[in-house]
């Protein structure tokens, strides 16, 4: 990641695919882990921690979508709805059966995975644009179902209040406590994705993405791996929904509408398709974009514009920037921010002796 290696000559594929490319990388990872787990929650105030919490939740979802879109080459415009599946599953378990979070969380993920696999079934017959439309239909149908079946959505407002999770007998209250809670799951998701990508399954996904006919010919069961990609990706989405529900303290379908699906697509496009680091960058970027826009507009435009105008301008300006960035990255840098990052790293690797 940050290292300036020298004299490293890999002599086997095993060495090439190792998680830690260099011995020192272990120490870098340990240092990063210490930074994020210990120093950050102590050093930052509530507001910044709340932003970090939102980013951590988004990281999980972006990683999940990237497994499907970036690694396997399928598309889903229905991930927002899959998050709501996880959210409502967990909310119902918690309120009806008093389930603890370590039960509700995987249950939400599993439910989303099941439904995601069902949505993914058309991917066996159809590709590309047809699949996009089918997942869009999935999004709308799930939204409608949750909204209209009061057994799931718990009444008129279609929202269920969820108590904060308890850990070691104590309820999570502050942002810092939530931060540690969410950081754990984000870290698990990151490690799981890195390892998935270099496993047999991950390589099969990439083969399906690059040339599905060729993949089938070299013996990859496309049927199985496409469904598996949908299921794994949806599991992440479900977990994201559960985490978000716990964080907000309420499950509400309005938090998971189609614009959320598009937000997550934007994250992985801007961050970088098929890249773990890209998912993280994308999650950071997309989560912070509206906040930074607000800061800048309030700083610069606060003199000219009234607060009412600002309230109208900020969300729409965010949409404009979003759309423009999606287009710009797709056209100019399809590998996204992670590619830019790699370019920077590659530059500094030999700096200042670049010739």
């Amino acid at each position: 990641m940050f290292h300036r290696e020298s004299g490293v000559f890999k002599t086997s594929y095993v060495a090439d695919m190792a998680v830690y490319p260099l011995p020192i990388a272990k120490w870098t990872v340990a240092a990063l882990a210490a930074l994020f787990a210990v120093i950050v929650p102590l050093a930052m105030n509530e507001y910044y921690l709340s932003l970090l919490n939102l980013i951590l939740i988004a990281v999980v979802g972006a990683l999940g979508l990237n497994i499907l879109v970036g690694y396997t080459g399928q598309i889903s415009i229905g991930h927002g709805a899959l998050m709501s599946v996880g959210a409502y599953t967990a909310a119902n378990l918690v309120t009806r059966l008093d389930a603890p979070f370590w039960l509700a969380l995987p249950a939400g993920g599993a439910m989303a995975a099941t439904i995601g696999a069902v949505i993914g079934i058309p991917s066996l017959r159809i590709k590309g644009l047809y699949l996009a439309i089918a997942t869009l239909a999935g999004q709308l149908i799930i939204e409608w179902t949750i909204n209209h079946v009061s057994w799931i959505s718990g009444g008129v407002q279609a929202s269920i209040e969820v108590p904060r999770p308890t850990l070691f007998g104590a309820q999570l209250r502050t942002q810092a406590q939530f931060y540690v809670f969410l950081l754990f799951f984000a870290a698990v998701a990151i490690v799981a994705t890195i390892n998935l990508a270099r496993s047999r399954i991950g390589r099969a996904f990439v083969a399906v993405r690059d040339q599905d006919i060729a993949a089938e010919i070299i013996g990859i069961d496309i049927f199985r791996y496409k469904l598996l990609a949908f299921a794994i990706s949806s599991f992440y989405a479900g977990v994201t929904g559960v985490l978000y529900t716990y964080y907000l303290g309420i499950a509400n379908y309005e938090q998971f509408q189609i614009n959320v699906s598009i937000d997550y697509l934007a994250m992985i496009i801007i961050g970088g398709l098929g890249s773990v680091l890209g998912s993280i960058f994308g999650a950071i970027f997309v989560t912070l974009l509206p906040i930074v826009t607000r800061w800048m507009l309030e700083g610069l435009g606060g003199l000219i514009l009234s607060p009412a105008d600002l309230a109208n301008i900020i969300p729409n300006l965010r949409l404009v920037i979003f759309g423009a960035l999606i287009i710009i990255f797709l056209a100019l840098e399809p590998e996204g921010l992670s590619r830019l990052w790699r370019n920077i790293v590659a530059y500094f690797r030999v700096w200042p002796f670049s010739y």
Binding site: V69, G73, I75, I77, P122, L124, R125, I126, K127, G128, L129, Y130, A132, I133, A134, L136, A137, L140, I141, W144, N147, H148, D212, I213, E216, I222, I262, L265, A266, I269, N312, I313, P315, N316, L317, R318, L319, V320, I321, F322, G323, A324, L325, I326, I327, L330, A331, L332, P334
Partner: protein
């Protein structure tokens, strides 16, 4: 009473047909782009919304007569179609389908934000120079706006059928859609026809925007009618003009019947739900639709 029921059904079907023809108008723009360039336009609803915004803003700020506003919308959307093809779609030629889909989603988000920024968040009206006195045909009540929409839709259907079957440009466009390489070898300027297809989609969207804007009022919610395009085109076949009409009619009638008979039991919203269930079934059984070319790669 069976008689009353029969009347009710007839009213529902008539309304469905009217709405269906208006869906067809939106779907035509979509089919045009797909037929000529193989690109799927997820921003079709936003095209319609944007056209309506242009017309409404011209009427509001300039106090112009309806026809001039319509011309503004037509000109604006033609330019938008050309521009998008040039700036967004052309760099993506030869890239995976998924990239094009996501680019049009980006365009959709951009247009939605931009329209509200430029024209304000409030709902505006487009007033057509026709009465709003409904027309009665026995028990069936028809809104004049819907009649105009259905009429425009039918006229365009005729024009497009002629265009693709008989005109030189239309035949060239079909050639481009069939195989870009062969078309190039025959001396057809593929890029020109791509741009033309997008501009034509802009024109259709402008008309759809005026009609739908007059019916529903103009704000960024108008873009949601674009979501109805997908069931229509999947049902009819993505590359078929006739399919857009048949698909539109089916979707219109199905959602009208579903809303009439099921809404009381499930508490509303069936209208937005039923077409998608229908579409999923079609995707499972006959993904290329009723009239589409069966050119789907199966893996």
């Amino acid at each position: 009473m069976p008689e009353l029921d029969w009347q009710f059904t007839l009213v529902l079907i008539a309304n469905g047909v009217m709405i269906g023809l208006m869906y067809t108008l939106i779907a035509l723009g979509f089919v045009l782009v797909y037929k000529a360039t193989d690109a799927i336009n997820f921003a079709q609803g936003e095209f319609v919304m944007f056209a309506a915004f242009i017309a409404a803003a011209a009427a509001y700020f300039g106090d112009l007569p309806f026809w001039i506003c319509g011309l503004f919308a037509l000109a604006g959307m033609t330019a938008l179609g050309f521009g998008l093809e040039r700036v967004v779609l052309r760099p993506l030629i030869g890239r995976p389908v998924v990239a094009v889909i996501m680019a049009t989603i980006g365009v959709a988000v951009l247009l939605r934000g931009f329209a509200t920024l430029a024209f304000g968040a409030g709902t505006r009206a487009i007033v057509m120079p026709i009465g709003d006195e409904p027309l009665f045909l026995g028990p069936i009540m028809l809104q004049p706006v819907q009649l105009v929409g259905a009429g425009v839709s039918l006229v365009f259907l005729a024009i497009f059928t002629w265009f693709f079957l008989c005109s030189r440009v239309g035949i060239a466009m079909r050639a481009v859609a069939d195989s870009q390489q062969v078309a190039m070898a025959m001396g057809i300027d593929v890029r020109r026809y791509f741009a033309l297809a997008w501009a034509m989609a802009g024109i259709v969207s402008a008309l759809a925007g005026i009609v739908w804007g007059a019916m529903l009022g103009v704000d960024n919610q108008l873009a949601l009618v674009g979501l109805k395009v997908f069931p229509v085109v999947i049902l009819g076949g993505l590359d078929s003009v006739i399919g857009a009409v048949v698909g539109g009619l089916i979707v219109g009638v199905v959602e009208s019947l579903a809303a009439g008979y099921l809404d009381p039991y499930v508490g509303g919203g069936t209208k937005d739900f039923a077409p998608y269930v229908l579409m999923i079934l079609v995707l499972m059984i006959r993904p290329y639709g009723i009239f589409g070319r069966a050119l789907i790669e199966r893996i």
